[in-house]
C-alpha cells in the first residue's frame, strides 16, 4: 500500500523587542546567567505582569503578512506545568481566543505547482528559562537554571496539517523566516534559537481522507533537521504500518548526532495543561483602526520586492531571487543600482564578489567599508573604461580593506587604464618590431601567436592597457604587414 504523509508545523518566533513580554527586563542574548531578571519574570508572589505594546504591534504585522484574521478580542491564559525553568509554574500563553486565525502561506518549490499552506492560528506567549543538565560543571544530582530567557516574547505560528512532504515543510520554514526578518520582528538567528520548530506527522493510505495517529517531533535545531526528522519518522511509521502494526501516539526527540528520533516516554497526563484565563492580564482588543495603522507601516515583503526588482531594474528572476533573500542585501543592491547605468553589472558584482567576500571575511553588510556609493563609483569607473576588469578586482579588495574611495585608490595605485590610442599604438609597434619571428609565424597562419603578443603588450603596460583597444590595434597592424 502507498501512504501519504500528513504534516503540521508549530513554529516559535522569538521577537526582537528590547524588553520582555510582561516586564521591563532586557532580552539581550548571551548575558551572564540570572542577570536580566526581576520579580515578574522570577515569578515572585505579588508581582504583576504588564503587556509590552510592541509585542501587540509585531503580532499584527505577522498576522497581516500571513493573511490571518485578527480577533477583535483575544485573551492571555495560564498554561500550567511544573518544570524548574518555569518559576511561576505556569507559562502565560493564549488558548481560547488566540490573537489571530485562518491565514495562509504559499510555498514554492522549483518545478512543482505552488502549495497553499493554511495557518490555523498565531498566538503570543512568553519563553521559559534554560536548564542545564549535561555540562561538565553540573553535578550528578542537580540541574542548573538560568531565568534570563524567561519572559522573552514569542509568537507561535501553528499551521494546518497541509504539508505532504518534508521538503514542503522545509521551504515553508525558509519562507516564514524570510518574512519575519523582512517584517523586522525577529533577527532570524538560528544559532541563538530565534526560530524553533516542532512538527507532527501521521500517515494515511493515498486516496483516503481520515487522519491516522500522529506523533510529535521535537528538538530539531535547524530547518534541515526538521526535514531530516520528518523523513526519518515517515519511514519509521511506514515500516510499522507495512508490517500490520499500530502507530502509538507519542512525542519523539530528534538526535541530530545519530540521525534518529527517540520516544520521550512521558506519561499522557503531562499534556493536561489546565489552561485558564490569566486574571492578572486584561484582554487584548484590536480595532480596525489599530490594525490599519500597523498595516500602513509594514515594509515591502520579499515577493513584492522580487517582482519590483525584475520590473524596475530589468533583472532576471534568478538575480531578483538571490538579491531579495535578505532585506539587507536587497537594500545594498538597490542603493547601488540607483547610482549606476548597468543594473545587471551591479547585480553580478553583489551576487558574486561581494557576497563571497562577506563570507570569507565573516563580516556583516552594515559593517562594510565598501558602501553602495563606493561600489557604484567602482562600477562607473569600469563602465567608462577608466580601469580594466582585472584592476577593478584589485580596487574592490583595497576598498574593502581601507574604505578609501575607488577613484582615490585608482590614482594612488596608478591603475588608470590606458585608452589613449597613440600610446597603445606605440607599444604595439615596438612589440611587433622586437619579435619578427613571431610576426612571420602569424602571417603564415598561426593565430595562436596573437595571445603571445597581447601578453607582451599587457606586461609592458602592467595590465593597464584597454584590452579591447589592444586587440583591435594589434590585428590592424598585423593585417597591414601581410600586404
Amino acid at each position: 500500500m502507498y501512504y501519504e504523509p500528513v504534516i503540521g508545523l508549530e513554529v516559535h518566533i522569538q521577537l526582537n523587542t528590547d524588553t520582555k513580554i510582561f516586564c521591563s527586563c532586557s532580552t539581550l542574548f548571551g548575558a551572564v546567567p540570572n542577570s536580566q531578571v526581576c520579580p515578574v519574570c522570577l515569578g515572585m508572589p505579588g508581582s504583576l505582569p504588564v503587556l509590552n505594546r510592541k509585542v501587540m504591534e509585531y503580532a499584527v504585522r505577522l498576522s497581516l503578512a500571513t493573511g490571518c484574521k485578527i480577533n477583535n478580542t483575544s485573551i492571555l491564559a495560564r498554561k500550567n506545568y511544573f518544570y524548574p525553568d518555569l518559576p511561576k509554574s505556569y507559562q502565560i500563553s493564549q488558548f481560547e481566543e488566540p490573537f489571530a486565525e485562518h491565514g495562509e502561506l504559499v510555498v514554492k518549490i522549483e518545478g512543482q505547482p505552488s502549495r497553499r499552506i493554511g495557518i490555523t492560528r498565531i498566538h503570543m506567549e512568553e519563553d521559559a528559562g534554560k536548564s542545564l543538565h549535561a555540562e561538565s560543571f553540573v553535578g550528578k544530582d542537580e540541574s542548573l537554571v538560568d531565568v534570563n530567557r524567561c519572559g522573552v516574547p514569542l509568537l507561535e505560528v501553528v499551521s494546518d496539517p497541509d504539508f505532504r512532504t518534508p521538503q514542503e515543510a522545509y521551504e515553508y520554514l525558509v519562507h516564514l523566516r524570510q518574512i519575519v526578518v523582512y517584517l523586522g520582528i525577529c533577527d532570524g538567528n538560528m544559532e541563538e534559537g530565534s526560530l524553533r520548530c516542532d512538527a507532527n506527522v501521521s500517515l494515511r493510505p493515498i486516496g483516503t481522507t481520515t487522519l491516522g495517529t500522529k506523533t510529535e517531533l521535537k528538538n530539531m535545531n535547524s530547518f534541515r533537521a526538521v526535514e531530516k526528522a520528518l523523513e526519518y519518522e515517515i519511514h519509521r511509521q511506514e515500516m510499522i504500518l507495512e508490517n500490520g502494526g499500530v502507530i502509538e501516539q507519542q512525542t519523539l526527540l530528534w538526535d541530530a548526532n545519530r540521525n534518529v528520533a527517540e520516544s520521550m516516554r512521558t506519561k499522557e497526563y503531562s499534556h493536561d495543561y489546565r489552561y485558564f484565563p490569566d486574571p492578572d492580564l486584561a484582554p487584548i482588543s484590536m480595532t480596525a483602526g489599530d490594525i490599519e495603522q500597523v498595516r500602513a507601516n509594514i515594509p515591502e515583503l520579499p515577493e513584492a520586492k522580487r517582482e519590483r526588482f525584475m520590473r524596475q531594474f530589468s533583472l532576471p528572476e534568478y538575480d531578483a531571487q538571490v538579491l531579495t533573500e535578505s532585506p539587507k542585501v536587497a537594500e545594498y543592491f538597490e542603493q547601488t543600482a540607483l547610482r549606476v547605468k548597468d543594473k545587471k553589472a551591479a547585480s553580478n558584482w553583489i551576487m558574486g564578489n561581494l557576497l563571497r567576500s562577506l563570507k570569507e571575511r565573516n563580516e556583516h553588510l552594515h559593517q562594510l567599508k565598501l558602501t553602495p556609493a563606493f561600489l557604484a563609483e567602482l562600477l562607473t569607473l569600469i563602465e567608462q573604461g577608466t580601469i580594466s576588469g582585472s584592476s577593478a578586482k584589485e580596487v574592490f579588495e583595497e576598498c574593502l580593506d581601507s574604505g578609501k574611495s575607488p577613484t582615490l585608490i585608482v590614482e594612488e595605485k596608478g591603475l588608470l587604464q590606458i585608452s589613449d590610442l597613440d600610446a597603445i599604438e606605440q607599444i604595439v609597434s615596438s612589440i611587433i618590431e622586437k619579435n619578427p619571428r613571431d610576426v612571420q609565424d602569424y602571417l603564415n597562419g598561426n593565430e595562436k601567436v596573437l595571445g603571445f603578443f597581447i601578453g607582451q603588450i599587457m606586461r609592458a603596460t602592467q595590465g593597464k592597457a584597454n584590452p579591447k583597444l589592444v586587440n583591435s590595434i594589434l590585428r590592424k597592424k598585423l593585417a597591414l604587414l601581410s600586404k
Partner: protein
Amino acid sequence: MSVTLEQVDVIARLSKLEFNQEEKSKFVEQFNQILQYMEKLNELDTEPIEPTYNVLDISNVTRPDELKPWLSQDEALQNAPRTKHGFFSVPKVIG
C-alpha cells in the same frame, strides 16, 4: 458529572503532591460537593451572554518597550537554597 478516585490521582500527580488513600477519598467527596454547587449555575440560561474573562471592564493594559533597571545576579539568587556559578541549582530533572 462526578469526580472519581482516578481523577483525584491525576490531579495530585499534576500538582506534584502525594496523598494517602484516606485523604484521596475525602477529596473525592469534597470535589463532588463543589461540583454539585457549581451545577446550580447551569440552571441559568447563559446562551446569549459573553463569557467574562476578566472582572474589570478594561482592555489593552500595556507598557512601552523600554528598559528599566532589574535585579542583579546576587539579588536574584539571594533567596535560593542552592546556587552554583550564578545558576539556581535544583534537584536533577531529566532533560
